[in-house]
Amino acid sequence: MISTRQLAYRYPGGPELRFDDIDMAQGGVLLLRGVSGSGKSSWLALAAALLAPTSGDITVAGQSLKALGKVAGDAWRARTIGFLPQQLHLSSALSVHANLAMAQWAAGEPQDDVRITQALTALGVAELAQRKPAQLSGGQAQRVALARAVLMQPKVILTDEPTASLDDEAARQAVQLLQATATRYGATLVIATHDARVAANLDGQIGFQPLFLGRSTL
């Protein structure tokens, strides 16, 4: 679950960003809506314990992030947060399999080939394990990156503009894949986007909670 109370962040020398309070149950979907510069990135960084709030508090998966130190934050993030960036940043020097192994390395975990294969299989890309990222199609690459995000079985999956530069059909598939994957892992899904197609394609039965950003600056 995710909940915030009077969450605010001020960049050194910049305007203060205030965020509306939210309360999300575990397994829900949170849509972060807003135009560029409205604070989506900051909210994601706060939720990932990369930034510490200047005031207020944010609690993610039962952990208040206000009190979390930098070192503890890294370890906590490795266990709790899965992240699908807009640019996928699969390392071109490494195979698909090794890219996932590197995620385990980053988390400070021993390499677990079984788990890597499980994650790739869950996303339907197990047969691509030995390929280099350059040999993947856009859709395949996104699935691999998503497999990397859920490898550590996170409680929260953060995604940043997952439908950018996708056509309508691909965007629909991407959103459904995200939601299905989050459901399979029992993870809370956070999608930061300004793309209206995301909301349109989310499974209404499960429901989602929007958080509109950009109204409460200054």
Binding site: L50, A101, M102, W105, A106
Partner: protein, 404 residues
């Protein structure tokens, strides 16, 4: 996956840059290893051949020439001295051991050295076959000379006049090989050794060829007998103070202290090795800069990839360690290649020198100074990686999240 494995893959993800950096580092390290090995081997060779020889007495002239010709058999001698004068010196109370040496002929470029069996004993020579000479015109062949000329016990050969090749052949007075020495690495390896009287006989026969000599002439020749020089060991170290002066002032001969002359020679060579060492330093500096630029641009290029590692939970020091690890790989590879190349060049030089019948230098060696090579490699690589690693350490993860 281990940090070193990831660093290895990252390193070779840019094969051209990695290859260039390994090459540059290796070049610097190879030159450095080579200089270190050469100075080590030459000093060792000098030390070995000089062991136990406190002073060399011979005809007046350049003292260094006397040492080079008498001890290392590299230069031509300064001249001859009367045997009688040398025999006088042997009676001097400060002289513990005196080995007379007579030069003049050679066989296929290898010097024929007339001396006493003491000379063999001085270098603790061991025989591969045969034994020491027991009569005039018998010879003992050094290991390398035997290998190159193919001489073995029972063979006969005629020396030629002069220390190079191409002099008159003394074919009236052939030598009989009585023994072949086992390889010792000392100067004996490249010599043909015989008794002093053999040398005299060969040259007296030369005169005999023209006119018959009567007993009186022979007597005269015997009185005029000469040697080229004498190697002397002192009875006490104190003799070093007085003995050379005694020789230089009271006789027609000169005394040269090898230790002094070799120090002088090594200082002369030292200028050369200093230049090479400086060159190696410049190469290493260039390599260091290249490694720095490569890692720096790698960090720039992979900024977002590194940020992603942070997002995946890697602490900053882990990301920085990845960069340092890449640099260490470069250092390791370059050390391997550099030292191997240095040893290879050294072996090549040793081979060329023995073809020239010059100083013998040993095979593989790891002088303590050579530890500087890996130390420098790691130092240069880590120093070059320091700033890039710091840059990786504080890579702003936040940039990754900025919507584009």
């Amino acid at each position: 996956m281990k940090t070193i494995a990831i660093a290895w893959r990252f390193l070779w993800s840019r094969p051209l840059a990695a290859g260039l950096n390994v090459l540059l580092l290796s070049l610097g390290l190879a030159s450095l290893s080579f200089v270190l090995l050469v100075s080590h081997q030459i000093e060792k060779a000098f030390e070995r051949d000089l062991a136990g020889i406190d002073v060399v007495v011979g005809a007046k002239g350049s003292p260094m020439q006397l040492i080079l010709s008498g001890v290392f058999h590299l230069d031509v001698p300064t001249g001859n001295v009367p045997l009688a004068a040398v025999n006088e010196l042997e009676k001097h109370p400060q002289v513990a051991k005196l080995i007379p040496i007579s030069l003049g002929d050679s066989y296929r470029g290898f010097r024929i050295v007339g001396s006493t069996p003491d000379y063999l004993a001085h270098y603790s020579a061991a025989f591969a076959q045969g034994a020491v000479w027991t009569a005039p015109l018998q010879a003992v062949i050094g290991a390398q000379a035997a290998a190159q000329t193919g001489l073995k016990v029972g063979d006969r050969f005629a020396g030629s006049h002069g220390l190079g090749g191409g002099g008159d052949i003394h074919d009236q007075t052939p030598y009989l090989v009585s023994g072949v020495l086992a390889a010792s690495g000392s100067v004996l390896d490249r010599l043909v050794l015989t008794g002093l009287d053999s040398v005299w006989q060969v040259h007296e026969k030369m005169h005999e060829g023209d006119t018959a000599l009567d007993a009186e002439d022979k007597q005269a020749l015997e009185e005029e007998r000469e040697v080229t020089l004498a190697l002397i060991q002192y009875r006490t170290p104190l003799a070093a103070v007085t003995f050379p002066r005694f020789v230089n002032t009271t006789t027609e001969m000169q005394a040269a202290a090898p230790a002094l002359e070799i120090t002088r020679l090594l200082n002369l060579i030292g200028v050369g090795t200093d230049v090479l060492r400086a060159l190696a330093g410049v190469l290493l500096l260039t390599a260091g800069l290249s490694v720095f630029i490569a890692l720096w641009s790698a960090v720039r290029e992979r900024r977002a990839d590194l940020a992603l590692l942070r997002m995946l939970g890697a602490p900053p020091r882990k990301v920085a360690a990845l960069l340092l690890c890449e640099a260490l790989w470069l250092a390791l590879l370059a050390t391997l290649i550099g030292v191997l190349a240095g040893q290879g060049l050294m072996a090549l030089l040793g081979w060329l020198l023995q073809l020239e019948k010059s100083v013998l230098i040993g095979a593989l060696a790891w002088p303590p100074g050579l530890w500087w090579v890996p130390v420098l490699a790691v130092g240069v690589a880590l120093l070059s990686a320091l700033l890039p690693a710091y840059e990786a350490y504080r890579v702003p993860v936040f940039e990754l999240l900025q919507s584009r």
